[in-house]
């Protein structure tokens, strides 16, 4: 078998594009964990709500798609802040397991609310983008856009964290929470802001996913678990690690799917994950 055929190349390229989306998904979760030290188990459900908001704004109320996207990002950012104030803040000092359970509870709550409010039938925004044909390979235009936006979002977050005072404070508070008030910083405000940014990233992911997938109340389950695995593989809370892990995972799924069947790609990725957890349980770039 000729190893370097154009179908393999296509699989590798699609893997890279998928990696961009996975990296964006992992970014918000890692930001929240890195700064607040809490895992939002319900992260993918925030994305689900965001996807519905695009559908209702665009398809039901006929807003222009760009406006619907903007509304989605703002809505999910607000949901992120609300999640922190209502759910996370009361359990900030509690045991990690309690924090997991409480956000797990929010997961089921959001799924149930979505089922009641939006019904179980699949919805689609009906924006279909063409596949690009380059040198005999088919590259999904939606994936290409998603990749570009995901990369842009990550660069924007990086610059924000690196170049602004709030960003510096966010990086600082992730290292030593207790000392911040002595410098006049209220950790509470930083946490709410970080939660809103995490929510905005989830909203951005929702805008990109809505172009590729149908919306249903359990859609979060199809990319929630893989997002957690990417984060854990990279080292929970480590944004660079999550970025690298996203591309490794995506290649397993895409190239593995090319050599075998698509489902086998996921099986390989999960096997790799399990193997890595034995070898490096702290993740690729994790601390201890």
């Amino acid at each position: 078998m000729q190893i370097f055929d154009s179908f393999l190349l296509e699989a590798v390229i699609n893997g890279i594009l998928l990696g961009g989306i996975l990296a964006l998904l992992a970014l918000g979760l890692n930001l929240i964990f890195g700064v607040i030290d809490v895992v939002w188990i319900c992260y993918a459900e925030l994305i689900m709500i965001g996807m519905y908001s695009v559908y209702y704004a665009h398809n039901v109320y006929h807003w222009p798609l760009a406006l619907a996207f903007l509304a989605c990002v703002l809505l999910v950012a607000a949901l992120g802040a609300l999640l922190h104030v209502l759910v996370i803040r009361p359990v900030l000092g509690a045991e990690p397991i309690n924090q997991l359970l409480v956000t797990g509870g929010v997961l089921f709550f959001l799924q149930a609310v979505a089922t009641l409010a939006f019904g179980v039938e699949f919805k689609n925004v009906g924006v279909s983008l063409p596949a690009l044909q380059i040198a005999g390979m088919y590259i999904s235009f939606a994936r290409l856009i998603a990749f570009g936006v995901a990369l842009g979002g990550m660069v924007a977050l990086y610059l924000f964290l690196k170049r602004t005072y709030i960003g510096t404070a966010i990086r600082a508070i992730s290292q030593d929470r207790g000392i911040m008030p002595l410098m006049g910083v209220s950790p509470n405000r930083i946490f709410v802001l970080t939660s809103a940014i995490g929510g905005a990233l989830a909203g951005l992911a929702a805008c990109l996913l809505v172009l590729q997938y149908d919306i249903h109340p359990a859609i979060g389950l199809s990319f929630g678990p893989i997002t957690f695995m990417v984060c854990v593989l990279g080292g929970l809370g480590n944004m660079v690690g999550g970025f690298i892990a996203a591309f490794i995972f995506a290649q397993f799924i895409s190239v593995g799917g090319y050599f075998l069947a698509l489902e086998w790609g996921y099986v390989l990725a999960f096997l790799f994950f399990i193997g890595m957890m034995f070898w490096r349980p702290q993740g690729i770039l994790g601390g201890k």
Binding site: A169, A172, Q175, I179, L182, M183, G184
Partner: protein, 252 residues
């Protein structure tokens, strides 16, 4: 400028600080001394707002600060350093200090001004202020200086210095002590200094407050405290003569 009255902190059945009262005038340096576990750090935490007192009052320039959150107290002009330095290791040296300059003052400076003030504070403690300077490149003495620069960058009225010069050599120790004296002279900052190395502390403080088991057992000028039989018994012990000699050399 600071008036602490009957300050008390209980942890369950244990009383860490018991009815401590003292006054501090503007520009004074007070040495807060006593054996380990005598309540010095707890007193610092109470003044800085990291802990809430069980009873008592703390007035800063006439304003009651008990019950205010720590970040507000920082804005009122209280800064502190930690015995074990707690820098943000993944931020650069300048970023560490600029963050304090930006957030720690009542009136928030512009980004450029905060960096300028950070460099100023770093110059005051003789640390490099280049953008490339990393926290990991600093030694024990450097980390203590960074801690001090970060506190100074908030432009405090009152500095709570948990110095612990223990890890430093003789020269570094005297430099650090002189630095505190210079900071008071240049900026008129009032300082409370916790320190176990009496040879360094007694050279520069105006007054001492001695704690034991959370209670004030003596307070007064160094020459008085160094000869106080109770202080010698619970704290100075066999070092008493050396300390008395230090104090005598200073006054004479």
């Amino acid at each position: 400028m600071l008036s602490v009255s009957r300050l008390t902190k209980r942890f369950g059945g244990f009383t860490a600080v018991n009815e401590v009262s003292f006054e501090l005038a503007r520009g004074e340096i007070l040495g807060l001394i006593g054996p380990n576990g005598s309540g010095k750090s707890t007193t610092f935490n109470l003044i800085a707002g990291a802990l809430a007192p069980s009873a008592g009052s703390i007035r800063l320039q006439g304003r009651e600060i008990v019950g205010e959150p720590a970040n507000r107290i920082a804005h009122h002009g209280v800064a502190r350093t930690f015995q074990i330095p707690r820098p943000f290791r993944r931020l650069s040296v300048v970023e560490n200090v600029a963050l304090a300059a930006y957030y720690g003052q009542q009136e928030r400076p512009s980004r450029e001004n905060a960096f300028a003030q950070a460099r100023e504070a770093l110059a005051l403690v003789n640390l490099p202020a280049e953008d490339s300077a990393r926290v990991d490149g600093l030694g024990a003495a450097g980390l203590k200086k960074l801690e001090l620069a970060r506190a100074l960058a908030t432009r405090p009225q009152l500095l709570l210095a948990d110095e612990s010069l223990g890890g430093l050599d003789e020269t570094e120790m005297h430099q650090a002590a002189d630095m505190l004296a210079a900071i008071r002279a240049q900026r008129g900052i009032t300082i409370i200094w916790v320190e176990h190395i009496m040879g360094a502390l007694m050279r520069i403080v105006d007054r001492c407050l001695v704690l034991d088991h959370g209670e004030v057992i003596a307070q007064g000028p160094p020459q008085e405290v160094a000869h106080d039989p109770k202080v010698i018994e619970v704290y100075l012990g066999s070092d008493a003569e050396d300390v008395q000699a230090t104090v005598a050399a200073r006054t004479g």
